[in-house]
């Protein structure tokens, strides 16, 4: 497919790997925020090709992974109510709650349906006016415009039987938390291309200036990442705390203003507790008061559920770049994509799932 296949060209990848190797005077420590980029790095072995010049530290950019345990438990509770149709992205099905997952709820008789888009969930509400339809609106800034549009449309069309369980997170406050940590080892960031497609580059320019650290906005294909890393290594070598956009084919400096307009109409910034990471001020989004009618947490009164995390999962350390998946004693043994202890083993954007898919047969010692 055009604009995909070209970005996987091995000859071009080799040229970029060699260039980075020549340019790096030392081994730089770089974090990629986005879990989609983590998967590309591990799948194509890019971290290993660059092992002498760049250490890749994986970031917390997996929306499924950081969705609070409480929200998973509330999702299961709402889905289990008689008459409810619970619609969700497929990734959320296997995420462990305190006591089972959405697949278990479905096995017990709950009507849980996987949808591709929040608009598909709204269509289910239109087909079934007699049922309560709840969509699990999770995601980063990239997904917020779609989820906000579904709520805006439901209000516009008077679909009173449609509500959303919102668990939305924002990237910049999480970067701030990582950089404020005295143990932070990250020297430069690959900024998330899809998030910047919506938000633009300005928030990262502020972070670069404030913390004196460079950011390169990059896409998701192997050449996107190698090109982004080549530019980032240049900035690091030259000591320049600047932002470069290497994904200009789809990311504009101002992002997508129309998309942000709907998000601002429907959602507002709030504090959020990230699973495995902890509370981060201003890092979440919630429905504005004028859309409270479409708020599933208010509609179903699920605030009082007690949640309990697995004690054997090191997802928190993995999500903060403090440990690699293979450092976990449960990795690939007690914790697999079929029987996960933590969300990063489930999601297609989780670091544990990437290592399990592409490196599970290797000795733990080989993990870098």
């Amino acid at each position: 497919m055009r604009f995909l296949d070209e970005y996987r060209d091995p000859r071009a990848a080799r040229a970029l790997v060699e260039r980075i190797g020549r340019r790096a005077s030392r081994r730089w420590r770089v974090m990629e925020i986005c879990g989609g980029q983590t998967h590309t790095l591990i799948r194509y072995g890019i971290d290993r090709l660059l092992a002498d010049s760049v250490e890749m530290i994986h970031g917390p950019g997996c929306p499924v992974c950081v969705t609070p345990l409480e929200k998973i438990d509330r999702a299961i509770a709402i889905a289990s109510r008689p008459g409810v149709i619970f619609a969700t992205f497929g990734d959320m099905m296997r995420v462990p709650g305190s006591n089972g997952d959405l697949f278990d709820a479905r096995a017990r008789g709950a009507d849980v349906r996987v949808v591709y888009s929040p608009i598909d969930a709204l269509a289910i509400a239109e087909e079934h006016p007699e049922r309560e339809v709840v969509f699990f609106a999770v995601g980063f800034e990239t997904t917020a415009p779609a989820n906000a549009m579904a709520v805006w449309l439901a209000a516009e069309k008077g679909r009173e039987n449609f509500s959303v369980l919102v668990s939305h997170v924002r990237v910049p406050p999480a970067i701030r938390l990582l950089l404020d940590d005295a143990d932070c080892r990250v020297q430069g960031f690959i900024a998330p291309g899809h998030v910047c497609t919506i938000m633009g580059c300005e928030e990262y320019e502020e972070l670069a200036a404030e913390y004196g650290i460079p950011f390169v906005v990059a896409g998701f294909e192997p050449l996107d990442l190698l090109d982004g890393l080549a530019v980032l290594v240049d900035l690091l070598e030259e000591g320049r705390a600047e932002v470069r956009n290497q994904s200009a084919r789809s990311v504009r400096r101002d992002g997508n203003e129309r998309a942000r307009g709907i998000v601002d109409e429907v959602l507002e910034i709030t504090g959020m507790t990230w699973r495995g990471v902890g509370a981060i001020p201003r890092s979440g989004l919630r429905l504005r008061e004028r859309y409270a009618r479409h708020d599933a947490e208010r509609r179903f009164h699920v605030a009082g559920i007690a949640s309990e995390e697995s004690t054997r999962c090191i997802a928190g350390a993995v999500l903060q770049g403090k440990a690699k998946p293979a450092d976990c004693p449960a990795f690939g043994r007690d914790c697999t994509p079929e029987t996960p202890l933590g969300a990063p083993m489930v999601s297609t954007e989780g670091a544990c799932s990437a290592y399990h898919a592409f490196r599970k047969y290797e000795d733990v010692d080989h993990a870098v």
Binding site: S117, P118, R249, S250
Partner: protein
């Protein structure tokens, strides 16, 4: 592949992904025209692909090739020059 408006004025289009065709909401990329490439996320086009920018990385790689060729021919230029970012 096609662009149309629905009953409440939202713009939709048919988008081909490899071999699969899907209905995509174009509310956030009203500039998209038939024949354009768009980045799609959960049923919404979030950006129109700028083809000139898309070619940039390949032009840069060709420059690297050219520089390496001139080095092999005995030139003294550094391969780690500015990348034009």
């Amino acid at each position: 592949m096609s662009v149309e408006r629905d009953e409440i004025g939202l713009v939709h289009g048919k988008v081909q992904f490899g071999g699969v065709v899907r209905d995509v909401n174009l509310s956030y990329t009203p500039e998209a025209r038939v024949g354009d490439y768009v980045v799609v996320h959960v049923g919404f086009a979030i950006s129109r692909v700028d083809e000139d920018e898309a070619r940039r990385v390949f032009e840069y790689l060709e420059e690297i090739d050219a520089l390496e060729a001139s080095e092999l021919a005995g030139g003294a230029s550094s391969p780690a020059g500015d990348n034009g970012a």
